[in-house]
């Protein structure tokens, strides 16, 4: 377990997904702050410096997640960002965070495909927290 309680910022327009992840993250010992839109996410960032952010790619505005991702990295490049998306299953567009071509504009540290299981998300959060703290 973490020595100090880490804060996870969850941004997703699917309230049930937020609830489910929040409950499980809290049970796993994290502090969780949630936002249901890109705008709410930005609002949240004024008062909060999360240790890690989990952002849905497609919200109200199709690319809301990308924009928010940029804002977070601009605010503090040391905040790891996990992008969650159903874009592949919904549009058939495939992309890969690791490819060089995408990495120049893709600001997230990891990409998870929805429906992402909690264990998967938790593993990514733990990995990135370790990576960023070393």
């Amino acid at each position: 377990m973490e020595q100090t309680q880490k804060t996870v910022m969850l941004v997703d327009d699917d309230r049930d997904y937020l609830n489910l992840m929040q409950m499980q993250l809290e049970a796993a010992g994290y502090k969780v702050a949630t936002a249901e839109s890109e705008a709410e996410g930005e609002e949240l960032l004024r008062s909060l410096r999360p240790d890690v952010a989990v952002v849905d790619l497609m919200m109200e505005n199709m690319d809301g997640g990308f924009v928010l991702c940029h804002r977070i990295k601009k605010l503090d490049p040391k905040i790891p960002v996990i992008m969650v998306t159903a874009v592949s299953s919904e549009t058939g567009i495939e992309f890969d965070a690791a490819s060089d071509k995408n990495h120049t504009w893709f600001k997230a540290d990891a990409l998870l495909t929805k429906p992402a299981r909690f264990e998967q998300l938790k593993r990514e959060i733990e990995r990135l927290l370790r990576e960023y703290s070393s």
Partner: protein, 385 residues
């Protein structure tokens, strides 16, 4: 106008010429088909030549002699079937034996013409084939369109049901695994949200059934004199508990008496949809004005709210199937995205329409115009969704 190509396959030149002459200016008029059906006649002197001609340019009807010098008519028929060519074959035979007939039918011949035949018999056979072919193609096209629409609808419905199912499933796993301990209160939100998502699914299914019934025209409509004020009042009563909770006042402005010839259930759906929306999308302490009026054989139903309103772009797509206006203001409002599309279809059944005037953050006014007598018995036959 429809144009069909006939390929005459016979080794006797005289026979081919006779067929060409008979069909030269032949025109068929078919019921259910716009314009006359005309023909172009092509010829082939052998089975091999016929197959070659078909490979180069397809024909619609094949007048095929049974006895040919090289491969037989039955062989040609077998090839046509094997290659799945979209053409009807009429076998011409001087040896009209039962055996030939059975073999030809098995291989897919549509009709027979026994030699010698008169021009009238030839024309009758060609008419019959043309009719069959055109209707068959038309049916195929309709079936394809129907398949497409069905596929689209199923995809959207599946998608709309998958989301709440996923959420409920997630909550149930949570309740089973209890990561937050055994205290029930920790899971109240999970239970509450599951119930809300289930309600949404139920509403989607009910609306879908309404929509299907209206669109298919299968539902037996009970056309009668309907007291519109009574239906409006019942719909108002239905939403009053929700309205009271948020202190929304509903007022009905109507003449003393207002009736129309209609299926009461359909008019109820109209009012229920309008009023549910007017309350759902209203602000606390807001109001709803329901105004009923009649003129020139039409009924005007106007429902004005003081709610969140919409932008012109949002208004433009509002009446389509499965459209929900998604924004910060509507995120807490549940809906199937079918209510207004159902409403529009009903309005059209009554020779009317529904329109909306709206201003963001000020409110929306929906106006439904219905023809009071559109559903009267004399006209029911012509009413279809």
């Amino acid at each position: 106008m429809i144009h069909l190509t006939i390929l005459v396959v016979d080794d006797e030149l005289g026979m081919r010429m006779a067929v060409c002459r008979a069909l030269e200016r032949f025109v068929v008029a078919l019921p259910d088909v716009d314009g006359p059906v005309t023909f172009t006649i092509r010829q082939a002197g052998s089975g091999e030549e016929a197959l070659e001609a078909l490979a180069a340019t397809p024909a619609d009807i094949l007048l095929l002699d049974h006895k040919l010098p090289g491969i037989s008519g039955l062989d040609v028929l077998a090839q046509v079937a094997e290659k799945n060519l979209d053409c009807l074959v009429v076998m011409i035979t001087a040896y009209a034996s039962l055996e030939t007939a059975i073999t030809a039918t098995k291989r897919g011949a549509f009709d027979f013409l026994a030699k010698p035949f008169t021009p009238a018999e030839l024309k009758a056979a060609v008419s019959k084939s043309a009719k069959h072919l055109i209707l068959q193609r038309h049916a195929r096209q309709l079936a394809e369109e129907k398949r497409q629409v069905r596929f689209q609808t199923i995809s959207v419905v599946a998608h709309e049901l998958k989301a709440p199912l996923g959420a409920i499933e997630g909550y149930l796993y949570l309740l089973r695994d209890r990561p937050a301990g055994n205290e029930w209160s920790a899971y109240e939100k999970a239970i509450e949200r599951s119930l809300i998502r289930l309600q949404g699914m139920r509403k989607l299914i009910t609306d879908l059934l309404d929509l299907t019934r209206i669109e298919s025209g299968r539902k037996k409509r009970e056309i009668q004199e309907v007291d519109v004020i009574d239906v409006a009042q019942a719909a108002i009563d239905g939403v009053t508990p929700d309205a009271k909770q948020r202190n929304i006042a509903i007022a009905l402005h109507a003449p003393d008496k207002l009736t129309m010839t209609a299926d009461r259930g359909e008019i109820e759906i109209v009012f229920n949809n309008l009023l549910t929306n007017a309350v759902k999308y209203n602000r606390p302490d807001g109001k709803v004005d329901v105004t009923l009026a009649a003129d020139d054989g039409r009924i005007n139903i106007q429902v004005a709210d003081t709610g969140i309103g919409m932008t012109p772009e949002e208004c433009a797509k509002l009446f389509n199937d499965f459209v929900r206006i998604k924004n910060k203001k509507t995120k807490d409002v549940l809906g199937s995205g079918l209510g207004l599309s159902i409403l529009k279809k009903i309005a059209q059944l009554y020779g009317g329409d529904v329109t909306v005037a709206s201003q963001a953050d000020v409110g929306s006014t929906f106006t439904v115009v219905l023809d009071r007598a559109a559903a009267a018995p004399a006209q029911t036959a012509s009413v279809s969704a």
